[in-house]
Chain length 77, copies 2
């Protein structure tokens, strides 16, 4: 995995964090996944260790939980 | 402010986040401030809206709280 992956759920906190991260890291270096829309990827996020969104998974596999938009449980709805 | 500023307090969570962020953003684009060692800068961090460390303040002035190492109150000691 050479790109970071940014998981979000469309929440306002997520949008701000996404814009800031893309500005810092560069859009070509980040894949964006909206687990609010694509619920089939929630389990993938959980397997990576994500507890809340927005979260960035780095190329090293570390999870950076950024601010707090919603828990994974909230996204499951 | 054209650089981001990364505030931390030397905690293990802080160290991991620092290494990851520097890898993503580039060391030349981030200033590092250890408010555990340099307590005179705690009030500056609070003024920027930082509630816990590690936290990254972007060039736009947005605060990204990353994971959770310690609250500012904890750092005050």
């Amino acid at each position: 995995m050479s790109k970071s992956v940014f998981y979000h759920a469309g929440c306002p906190v997520c949008v701000t964090a996404e814009q800031e991260l893309i500005g810092l890291v560069g859009a070509t270096n980040v894949s964006i996944v909206n687990i609010g829309e694509d619920k089939s990827r929630i389990s993938e996020a959980e397997d990576l260790g994500i507890k809340s969104v927005p979260a960035l998974v780095t190329p090293n596999g570390n999870v950076l939980h950024i601010n707090y938009g919603a828990s994974i449980e909230d996204v499951k709805g």
